[in-house]
């Protein structure tokens, strides 16, 4: 039976992937999927409303899961529809995360009043919004680096409430029950209304009521235009004009000149009415007609935003995380039982997870039109991808499950890091002018990040050497030798990538700023990885470090790499202010500490190592 184990686990993995690929079905009569695919512009790029819903939820409450007060689970799109169109309900949704007790005290709330003891609704905050604003003003006067945790929490919550207000004002006027009816009246009276206002200004006879109505509408549209989060009205001259997307309020202001309310604005107002009154059939029909209209003018844009909505639903990196964990467990067990069968099963699962991550990275590259690494989030994906790629190579040659264990460990860890980085919002960001160079992103950034990945992998292999050697009897001379060779080989690659990547970075700096090297923190971080890897190689060549020393040195490489990757980014933030410690800083500190513990463990006399104790 056990010879079918690899096949069984491979099929299990494939089933997991297949399940994630099944298109999401609508949970109600409303075509929520089609709604989620509608394109809008936020943060300078066209994205589907589905992405807006998910990233907004993550920003507000660090999770995409949200429930109504009655306990029913909402999909992100359902939640977004209520926020956009039916604030009477959305105001009661507990989606504002507040962790700081002093901040809760401002609102007179206790954790027990919140969902999961930390999420609160707008209703719960409403009465003290003015106080929040006052506190936010006080905190804003403090430089962001030296704010106290309380001030940081205030600024964050204030921004989140702002985001909520901006979403509410994005497609319809939030203070009107039936915006569609209002727009139809407006459409019929706008031409006469504009003349009335003109006549009034010229001091001629005019319809006073109509003029006042127009002025009031103008004021409201202007406020909507200022507030709105989404640029939702597509340009009239086709998809080439990405700068032509407008906010509903701004395009309504143009109505005073054109005399015609743009069709997209009418569509949103119509959707709002049908969503609030529960007319699913009409809702779906309006969506279908609007989409058919978009298909004509925006085929490429729609193709991309459809694909992105689909990508959001598939969540390939989530499935890959599960597969890495499973592979890790199988590979560890294979050291105790059925090495051949479980080892192969783990190897195949790692391969599957890696292919899935590859597909995910390629999908992101295609969506963004960029090389794989553009921000911290994508660097975490890529570090994991490159390290697991090396693991597959090692496992292919050695077949001792060490590669699979390392792959499971690094793959899982990097995707976990990526998940936490994704809580900052949309991970497909636009590149600032200085970084807007696909050539250098593809060469320097990719090589340097590959260097991080290889250095981490060497460190994790070092950990495996120490743990197996000290705590188990499984590190026989053959395995020890193989592990040591693996570490050495990976360090060679790490040296190559980090050295070439660092020099390419210098060349990029020379191309952009006229200096090759400036000793700035990020450059220094990269240089430290190069120096460390070089030190490791020379220590080995000089016979100063043998197997155990190499493993311990490689583990120290983890500390150096995590410093370069994240530590230097915190320099401006964490280190020169004593009151403030970012959560990420504690994680970094914890990681460094536990690596140091392993190095201390590694320096135990060999007689204390279970594997080397003469039994």
């Amino acid at each position: 039976m056990k010879r079918f184990l690899p096949l069984f686990f491979l099929l299990l993995g494939l089933a997991l992937i297949a399940k994630s690929l099944v298109p999401v079905r609508n949970s109600s009569d409303f075509d929520l999927v089609a709604f989620g695919r509608l394109p809008v512009v936020v943060n300078g790029r066209v994205k589907p409303l589905d992405t807006v819903a998910r990233t907004s939820l993550v920003v507000l409450q660090s999770s995409q899961n949200v429930t109504a007060p009655d306990g029913t689970a909402l999909t992100p799109n359902e939640w977004l529809l209520d926020v956009l169109f039916r604030s009477s309900r959305a105001d009661a949704y507990q989606h504002f995360e507040i962790n700081h007790p002093d901040l809760l005290a401002i609102f007179g709330l206790t954790p027990e009043a919140g969902r999961a003891k930390r999420r609160f609704s707008f209703r719960q905050l409403e009465s003290k919004i003015d106080e929040l604003q006052r506190q936010a003003k006080l905190a804003a006067s403090v430089e962001s680096a030296v704010r106290t945790p309380f001030q940081k929490a205030v600024v964050q919550l204030y921004a989140n409430v702002g985001l909520y207000f901006r979403l509410k004002a994005s497609l319809v006027s939030p203070d009107h029950k039936d915006f569609l009816a209002e727009l139809m009246v407006f459409q019929n009276s706008v031409v006469a209304g504009v003349s009335a206002v003109r006549a009034k200004q010229a001091g001629q006879p005019h319809d006073e009521a109509l003029a006042a109505q127009m002025m009031e509408a103008g004021g409201r549209f202007a406020r909507m235009g200022e507030l709105a989060y989404l640029l939702s009205v597509p340009p009239t001259d086709g998809e080439a004009n990405t700068a032509g997307w407008k906010k509903v309020g701004d395009s309504l202001l143009e109505t005073f000149q054109t005399g015609r309310v743009p069709p997209a604005v009418m569509v949103f107002a119509g959707l709002a009415r049908m969503w609030t009154s529960g007319q699913a059939k009409e809702f779906n029909e309006v969506l279908r007609l609007y989409r058919a209209q978009l298909e004509k003018n925006f085929p490429t844009v729609l193709g991309k935003s459809d694909a992105e909505a689909r990508f959001n639903a598939v969540q390939p990196f989530y499935t890959a995380t599960l597969l890495y964990v499973l592979a890790f467990i199988l590979a560890v067990i294979s050291w105790l039982r059925w090495p051949a069968e479980l080892g192969r099963a783990a190897f195949w699962l790692v391969g599957l997870a890696w292919l899935l991550a590859t597909a995910g990275i390629f999908a992101r590259m295609w969506l963004e039109g960029r090389p794989p690494v553009t921000n911290l989030y994508s660097s975490a994906l890529f570090v994991g991808w490159i390290a697991v790629g090396f693991c597959l190579g090692l496992e292919y040659f050695y077949r001792n499950a060490i590669g699979s264990v390392a792959a499971g460990l690094v793959g899982f860890a990097t995707l976990l890091v990526a998940h936490h980085l994704s809580l900052g919002g949309d991970t497909l960001e636009m590149m600032r002018a200085v970084l807007d160079s696909n050539f250098w992103l593809a060469t320097h950034v990719v090589t340097v990040t590959a260097g991080y990945g290889a250095t981490f992998l060497a460190g994790f292999l070092g950990l495996i050497y120490i743990v197996r050697g000290v705590f188990t009897k499984s590190l026989d001379p053959g395995t020890a030798d193989a592990l040591s060779r693996m570490i050495y080989g990976i360090v060679c690659f790490a040296t190559l990538f980090s050295l070439v990547g660092t020099i390419l970075g210098g060349i990029w700096a020379d191309q952009s700023w006229g200096r090759f090297w400036g000793w700035d923190p990020k450059e220094n971080g990269a240089l430290m990885i190069v120096i460390w890897n070089a030190l490791l190689l020379h220590a080995r060549w000089g016979g100063l470090a043998r197997q155990r020393g190499l493993a311990a040195l490689a583990v120290f490489g983890n500390i150096i790499t995590s410093w370069s990757w994240f530590g230097v980014n915190m320099l401006g933030v964490g280190l020169h202010s004593y009151g403030f410690m970012d959560a990420a800083f504690w994680w970094l500190l914890a990681f460094v500490t536990c690596q140091l513990v392993f190095i201390v463990v590694a320096s135990l006399p060999l007689a204390k190592w279970r594997s080397f104790r003469s039994a």
Binding site: N43, D436, F493, I503, G506, I507, W519, P521
Partner: protein, 389 residues
């Protein structure tokens, strides 16, 4: 061969020394990164890298560290000595040798850059044309003969001469320039003319030009990224018949001061040091693109007209992020911009050794690829033979 020599040689060619030096350089780089938070990047470069001993201040402690020159120099000696000592021309060693030669090229390149690189900036308003760039940090005392309306005759004295109080006698000047006082950084303020003159021993006030109306307060030197040192000096001009008086000069005064002597008219000013170019750049248009609906910058670009007096070059060029103009041995980078005021600031760099890092990068990458590639191939071949070990 004496025993001492052999001992020294063994130290200098040893890999142990390499590892120690690499570890020291690691600590140096780490310390300098942390020090930047307080000191700023410029002071850190001076204290940690352009020095033999660096002092790392952690809390109240002051730890001495070997500085960049010491560690770098010893590494270079170690590297060269080891290669000369163990020099063998073998394929097996070619990768390592190529890599280390690349490293030497890189270090030499950095050394030459430090010696040769000139860094200037050029601020141009839309429609204006400039044929000189200005230093980021250096100043000069310009004494300009404006008697002939057709041209100005400029004598520029670097501020380092003022700082050393050198007496300057230039063939074009009918007077000597003697520095009485020099402040590397000072603040100026209007001085109440009716107030009693400062006590003896205080800052000597100039007798000519605007000097008598200005109070000078010396300031400590600043190393911050966003602050500049603004010098001030009092200079005395001494002609054949004796002193013409003393003048206060500082870039903060704005307009140059005028004086007449021996029938000629001069303007005198302490200004940002200029470097004239045999061509001129006219700014046609600045563009600052942002991503729609955000204030995230997408691109900064300057459309420039490049002309030479001989008329050989007369063309339009576009300078934008990651796309500098290379012309006449200079490189012009998009540096800063104020699109509302139609102002662009280009960074102007002359670095004759700019190509060396590129060469070094290729050498080191090729060397490592060769070395590790050969090892990998050997490893795979070995695994093929005995896949069980």
């Amino acid at each position: 061969m004496s025993a001492l020599y052999r001992q020294l040689r063994d130290v200098f060619v040893s890999l142990k020394l390499t590892v120690v030096l690499l570890a020291l350089s690691l600590i140096l780089v780490f310390a300098s990164t942390l020090a930047q938070v307080d000191l700023g990047i410029y002071a850190v470069q001076e204290e940690f890298y352009r020095s033999f001993v660096a002092i790392w201040r952690v809390g109240g402690l002051a730890l001495p560290l070997p500085g960049g020159y010491l560690v770098g120099g010893l590494l270079l000696i170690n590297l060269v000595a080891a290669h000369l000592h163990r020099l063998k021309l073998q394929w097996r060693k070619a990768g390592i040798q190529l890599t280390h030669s690349g490293l030497i090229v890189l270090l030499i390149g950095e050394l030459l850059t430090g010696l040769w690189q000139e860094d200037f900036q050029m601020a141009i308003n839309e429609g204006d044309s400039k044929n000189y760039s200005e230093s980021f940090r250096l100043y000069e005392l310009a004494v300009i003969d404006t008697t002939d309306p057709k041209f100005d005759d400029v004598v520029a004295i670097p501020d380092s001469h003022l700082a050393r109080a050198t007496v300057v006698q230039h063939p074009k000047l009918p007077f000597r320039v003697v520095t009485k006082t020099y402040f590397p950084n000072a603040a100026l303020a209007r001085r109440d003319a009716s107030a009693p003159s400062p006590a003896a021993g205080a800052v000597p006030i100039a007798t000519q030009g605007i000097g008598p109306n200005v109070a000078v307060t010396p300031l400590p030197l600043t190393y911050k990224m966003n602050e500049n040192n603004v010098p001030a000096a009092v200079v005395e001009l001494i002609g054949a018949d004796g002193s013409l008086g003393t003048w206060l000069v500082s870039p903060d005064l704005g307009a140059p001061q005028t004086l007449t002597h021996a029938g000629r008219t001069w303007r005198i000013a302490l200004r940002i040091a200029r470097a004239y170019k045999p061509f001129s750049l006219q700014l046609l248009k600045v563009t600052h693109d942002i991503y729609v609906g955000t204030d995230l910058p997408k691109n900064f670009s300057s459309r420039i007209k490049l002309t030479t007096p001989d008329g050989r070059d007369d063309r339009e060029v576009l300078i934008y992020m990651n796309n500098p103009l290379r012309y006449g041995g200079y490189t012009f980078y998009q540096y800063q911009m104020d699109s509302a005021r139609g102002l662009t600031v280009l960074q102007v760099v002359r670095n004759p050794s700019w190509l060396l890092p590129y060469v070094a990068c290729i050498m080191m990458a090729a060397g490592l690829l060769l070395q590790f590639g050969l090892s990998l191939l050997a490893f795979i071949a070995k695994r093929r033979v005995s896949p069980t070990t």
